[in-house]
């Protein structure tokens, strides 16, 4: 491929490569810094010595994070919650998107409009809270799943993917004696697998990072996600000053270690799911 490039093309490529390398470095530096802080002693951090590499290397912060009971249990809970919520969300999305992708569905356009409206009209926190409360979901596991079980945006993406399938496929399935449910599971879903994986990732990341519903809908600390516990760790020092009470200050290296630990599932999962993104693009190309 490369041998036919003109000088100008090469210069063009050099420019953009450098540009994007610089951008990635800028994005990486904060992450590297947090990582270095998590492996440094707290005095070195306080003295402002830590930047890109750890100073006075120690794993104390990780040991202490894992010893703190609430952090580990919330981490485990968050992982389960993320998996459970992703499954529910994907099922809901598929079940809503498949019928709506059919052109002959009666009232389909109207139902679609209702979905789209929720993207533009947000009732605000308190009406949402009252709604969750009236369904008696406050302080339950389901308060963290049901209210966000379907994202209209993701549903539309799914719907478009189903519409992209050739209608002759459906006809063939029908002739072979499939009913709609069988068509969905045996014909349509395997063909939109990359889209499905991508949406699952969106849902998983969204759930992992979402904080507001944990804050508002849950009272019992057993249902705190790792992000919630992290927020407490990081903000506790600022507040205890106000109150004139004696609280234990949480050292910067422990905060950094907690951030690294809470990022890890996403960082680990991304490379595995990433292949579906490329696959998705290729699939489109072949068909086109």
């Amino acid at each position: 491929m490369g041998e036919l490039k003109s000088k100008e093309e090469r210069r063009f490529q050099l420019f953009w490569n450098t540009f994007f390398i610089v951008i990635s470095i800028v994005a990486l530096i904060p992450l590297i810094r947090v990582f270095s802080m998590s492996l440094s002693s707290k005095d070195a951090i306080l003295a402002g010595k830590v930047f890109l590499y750890p100073v006075q290397l120690t794993t104390e912060a990780y040991v202490r994070s894992f010893q703190s009971g609430s952090f580990v249990s919330s981490f485990v809970f968050s992982v389960f919650l993320m998996l459970g919520s992703t499954i529910v969300c994907v099922i809901m999305t598929v079940l809503a998107a498949y019928p709506l992708s059919k052109k002959n569905l009666k009232g389909g356009a109207f139902i679609m409009t209702l979905f789209v409206l929720t993207m533009y009209l947000d009732p605000g926190i308190i009406p949402k809270y009252l709604n969750v409360k009236d369904f008696k979901l406050i302080d339950t596991f389901w308060a963290l799943i049901i209210p966000e079980a379907l994202s209209a945006y993701n549903m539309i993406i799914m719907c478009t993917a189903f519409r992209g399938l050739d209608s002759s496929l459906y006809e063939a399935a029908k002739i072979d004696g499939c009913n709609e449910v069988q068509t969905l599971f045996k014909v349509a879903l395997p063909l939109v697998y990359p889209t499905l994986a991508t949406l699952a990732l969106f849902y998983a990341v969204g759930r992992w990072n979402r904080l507001s519903d944990v804050l508002y809908y849950v009272n019992s600390s057993k249902l705190y996600t790792v992000q919630m516990v992290l927020k407490q760790l990081i903000e506790s020092v600022k507040l205890s000053n106000d109150e004139g009470i004696q609280t234990q200050l949480i050292a910067d290296n422990i905060k950094a270690a907690s951030i690294v630990i809470s990022m890890s599932p996403m960082v680990i999962a991304y490379p595995f799911i990433q292949k579906y993104f490329t696959k998705g693009i290729m699939l489109g190309a072949v068909k086109g």
Partner: protein, 535 residues
């Protein structure tokens, strides 16, 4: 085939998730049944004088520091309190945890949703005032009169803050050790090297700052005579200094310009001008306003480049400790040198009131039970047992000794028992200098200063002790514009300190007009008007 696997997989994960939560709730269930059975046993003996059985829900802050296997709602300490309340008053106490860091947001939501616990609290006066004025709170006047004996006896100082139009809408938590809001620190070793005395006036301080700049007594690479940060949520870096240029004629002035509004009191502008002069001479951290999370500021202090700073009272100990260890000798000592025009000092102290402890209107029927709970813990002996646990010891100065972190964890106590004590922090030891000083010394995780340093600290920080008058009223103007104006006042001072001297007057004019447009004058007028109305 693969599909069946997928479905099985999904089910397994969902069940596991439900199990995780299921375990949680069943454990909670056990705890309540246990409490219930002991209640039945106790109830038989003296049910008559303890009153009928009632259950109250009490908010408790969660700072994420519960011991392993416990939660902030259910642990050794909450069990102890529940047992006491059950035995004494036949009241079942349940706790509802609220994350400390977003406590006020969550409180607002729970109040609007009508699902707040029976006892809630906040440090924020506007939240209290908003609830009280909009009928969100139960009137506690009657319950306070009947059941508030110990509150009156031990913590009556602050209770008028919870009173709105002659109705008691909140019980005030009283603070413990009396403390100033801010304290200045200076390098003792540099003073000695320069052959200078401890400054007693601002003039002497300026001489010291100039000498530090010229002679660099520490021989450091990047000397900063006066270090400042650009924190955008506190006036700690300059407020006491500006205050010394203000002449408060009477209580009315003190009320109108209390705390943050000192920045715009008559005379304060001379102080800002002086800071501008110091800044342009290179005596104040260059570009300090960009250091909004004070990382650079702290690093400079720790590196030993700084000659003087004004900060919170005790929090600088965290960084002075590190400096002390690397310097191996005494470095910073507290100093009071911001003299008023008559040569005396004025050091604003924290108010005696702390939190507003409230009962929502929806829990009005439980007001009596709530008051019994609050009254019980107003007794300093009880408060001490809550903060330091019932197992604690006192040292020879009568100071309670906090259980070590490891002990708290192994015995199932939360890391911050203080959060369960919501009425009285002014325990016996907080009233004696010896006890306070000895507590400071013992609380240090590493030994970094001699005992006389702390003793001197106690004396210096209290020089010119002063409290602004306070009232429970918050004007409409302040509710509407207060937060914004306070933020703008910080920007106003930072801009004026760091502008070039020839622009100072014109910039001051425009920036001050901005403040007035944002509602400053309305707030000041409303304060003056309120003060006149109650006199």
């Amino acid at each position: 085939m693969r599909k069946a696997n997928l479905v099985r997989c999904c089910l397994a994960v969902l069940t596991a998730a439900a199990l995780v939560t299921g375990c949680g709730s069943s454990k909670g269930g056990d705890a309540t049944t246990a409490a219930g059975s002991s209640a039945a046993a106790g109830g038989e003996t003296t049910a008559a004088d303890k009153g009928k059985e009632e259950t109250i829900k009490v908010m408790v802050w969660d700072r994420g520091d519960a011991a392993p296997g416990t939660t902030v709602e259910n642990n050794t300490q909450t069990e102890w309190i529940k047992k006491q309340m059950k035995e004494k008053y036949n009241i079942n106490v349940e706790y509802v945890s609220v994350p400390r860091s977003s406590s006020d947001d969550k409180l607002n939501i729970m109040m609007s949703g009508g699902s707040a616990p029976d006892i809630v609290f906040t440090y924020n006066q506007s939240i209290f005032s908003n609830f009280a004025n909009n009928g969100g709170l139960a009137d506690l006047t009657q319950a306070y009169e009947t059941f508030g004996g110990d509150i009156k006896k031990y913590v009556s100082d602050a209770q008028n803050m919870g009173r709105v139009e002659d109705k008691q809408f909140a019980i005030m938590k009283q603070r413990g050790v009396e403390a100033p809001k801010h304290t200045a620190y200076i390098r003792q070793d540099w003073l000695d090297k320069l052959g200078m005395q401890m400054p007693k006036t601002k003039e002497e301080l300026f001489k010291y700052l100039e000498a530090v700049k010229e002679k660099n007594p520490g021989g450091v690479s990047n000397v900063t005579p006066w270090a400042m940060s650009g924190r955008n949520d506190t006036e700690k870096g300059y407020l006491n200094f500006l205050g010394s240029y203000v002449n408060l004629k009477d209580d009315k002035d003190a009320y109108v310009y209390s705390e943050a509004y000192m920045t715009v009191a008559p005379g304060a502008i001379d102080g800002i001008k002086k800071l501008n002069e110091l800044y342009n001479k290179g005596l104040i951290t260059k570009d300090f306003a960009t250091d909004t999370n004070e990382d650079i500021y702290k690093a400079q202090v720790i590196a030993g480049n700084v000659g003087f700073f004004l900060d919170d009272t005790e929090s600088p100990w965290n960084y002075i400790t590190v400096l002390y260890q690397s310097a191996g000798q005494r470095t910073f000592v507290p100093v009071q040198c911001f003299e008023l025009s008559d040569g005396s000092y004025r050091t604003p102290f924290e108010q005696r009131y702390g939190m507003f402890v409230m009962v929502p209107k929806t829990s009005e029927k439980k007001a009596e039970a709530c008051m019994k709970y609050l009254n019980w813990m107003a007794d300093p002996a009880v408060a001490e047992n809550i903060v330091y646990t019932a197992e604690h010891q006192r040292d020879e100065n009568g100071v309670p000794i906090k259980l070590s972190e490891a002990d708290l964890k192994s015995k199932g106590y939360p890391g911050t028992c203080d959060d369960l004590n919501i009425v009285n922090l002014s325990m016996d030891w907080t009233k004696s200098k010896d006890a306070i000083v000895s507590k400071w010394i013992k609380d240090q995780s590493v030994k970094w200063e001699s005992d006389d340093w702390f003793s001197n600290f106690y004396d210096v920080r209290a020089e010119g002790k002063f409290r602004y008058p306070v009232y429970s009223n918050i004007s409409q103007a302040e509710t509407d514009y207060g937060k914004n104006v306070e933020d703008l006042m910080l920007a106003y001072v930072y801009k004026l300190i760091s502008c070039s001297p020839d622009q100072f007057d014109s910039l001051q004019q425009t920036e001050y007009n901005n403040l007035v447009n944002a509602g400053l004058q309305k707030i000041l007028d409303a304060r003056a008007e309120y003060f006149d109305s109650i006199k």
